[in-house]
Symmetry: C2
Subunit: 272 residues, 2 copies
């Protein structure tokens, strides 16, 4: 999906919601466990119930890998289902990969060719040759971790660079943005540090940001929009557990929709 197609979907749906499919088999409703593929059955119902409210879906690969080859099959069915929806959605493999060049190319193949995701999240620690391979695929995106939503973000991401006084996440933004373009790179900026978004926007005014941490992790949507929105909207705000595990009853999909709708209504107000 191109940047313009994503913006069009955001304007059409009046939503910049990304739903995180962190489908932990131990947390899904018990009645699904008799299905042939409980995880896919869960995802399918969540997607069906929310696809008019969300512009993006983000399976976190950890929850699939922990089930081995079987989990990988659930992921494959999920991305295939997402790629065949009537209204296109932006798809994110939240995989946080990154390795030396020839190896990153293999990861890019895994997510862009074998699975056909639009984008992959990428860890920047190993530098340019670990990120660039993800930028060599036409129409695909690398979403680079810059400022994450967790407490551990304070361990390294705020280290001040002796040379220019920038924080590490700022150097990551400044350095990596030159490796690609606004058409094939986004950045992860956690909602739990929303006040930092103004600072982030000084470095990358036009890039899309993937913003996790709203909901279960405590970030505020209004703050994120206030400091992070640009004229293209420029935001994909993710909620995972707060939506998909809203209920574990028979009506889990309906309850997920209710939570997604609450966010979409707020988002519609924030979209100019």
């Amino acid at each position: 999906m191109t940047k313009q197609e994503l913006i069009d979907q955001i304007r059409k749906k009046r939503s910049f919601l990304c739903i995180g499919l962190d489908t932990d088999i131990e947390k899904i409703p018990k009645h699904l466990l008799s299905e042939e593929d409980p995880v896919f059955a869960f995802n399918k119902q969540i997607i069906d119930a929310t696809q008019d409210l969300a512009v993006a879906y983000k399976p976190n690969t950890a929850f699939y890998e922990s089930r081995g080859a079987e989990g990988w099959e659930s992921l494959k069915k999920t991305i295939r289902y997402l790629n065949n929806l009537e209204n296109p959605v932006f798809t994110i493999a939240d995989a946080k990969r990154g390795d030396i060049g020839n190896t990153s190319t293999q990861y890019a193949k895994a997510f862009f060719e074998t699975l056909n995701f639009d984008s992959v999240t990428v860890a920047p620690y190993m530098g340019r040759d670990s990120v660039s391979p993800f930028l060599q695929f036409e129409g695909k995106w690398a979403i680079v971790l810059a400022l994450t939503s967790n407490q551990g973000a304070f361990d390294f991401q705020f280290i001040k660079n002796d040379e220019n006084q920038e924080k590490l996440f700022e150097t990551v933004l400044e350095t990596t943005k030159s490796w690609g373009s606004e058409e094939n790179m986004m950045f992860v900026i956690g909602a739990t540090k929303a006040e930092m978004l103004a600072q982030v926007r000084k470095h990358i005014p036009n890039h899309f940001l993937l913003v996790p941490g709203v909901g279960a992790q405590g970030g505020s949507l209004e703050e994120v929009a206030k400091y992070g929105m640009n004229s293209d909207i420029g935001l994909l705000v993710n909620s995972s557990r707060g939506i998909i595990f809203a209920s574990n009853g028979l009506n889990f999909a309906e309850k997920a929709r209710e939570e997604a709708l609450k966010l979409q209504i707020q988002m519609a107000k924030l979209i100019c």
Copy 2:
């Protein structure tokens, strides 16, 4: 495998060789492609031909993931085979994972429980709560990226900390070492920067180091031993392509053994 057991194997085999099973299906000998699982068939022959010379094996997960569920099955067969060798070997899932706490726990389950590896490589960028979940499994190890062997290492890992003038990889060593112990943490230090090993040993004199970059990437074994070895040996030196793709003929396993043997002979001389 415990630290003492690893040291015992090193002394017994007079080797600190780790063989990287970066099994790219496009590079394996053509005659294997008619096998039911060509990647596992390749790995099995490589392992059989080298197991008396190597103390560790390190499949890089990218080469398996790029083949989807099928690749995951090859990885499962490979780790099962490694875990049933007569002389135990240390096993490393070179996966470079790292995510927020509940998600890292899923990755740890994937590699320590579903697949039963001894260790996983972990990216430090997201900080403590992304690394700690890998340290909660009895007898298992996290191998943290500190100073990698690729060119991109210079993009961020050498950034000087304004507070104490340490380079980022040094701060990563100093900070993360307190999260675990010498019994459940190792660090990745690239052989291509062997002269930095003396500096690394100031921060972590006793930890084991996983050292990639000897061979295809150009690092020198003598330099690595000179600056990195400690009284426990304290090194696992990895070679991947230089061994496993030494030949793509019918005799590939024999040729792989020859390359492994060259390194093992050098290593035997370096072990006091």
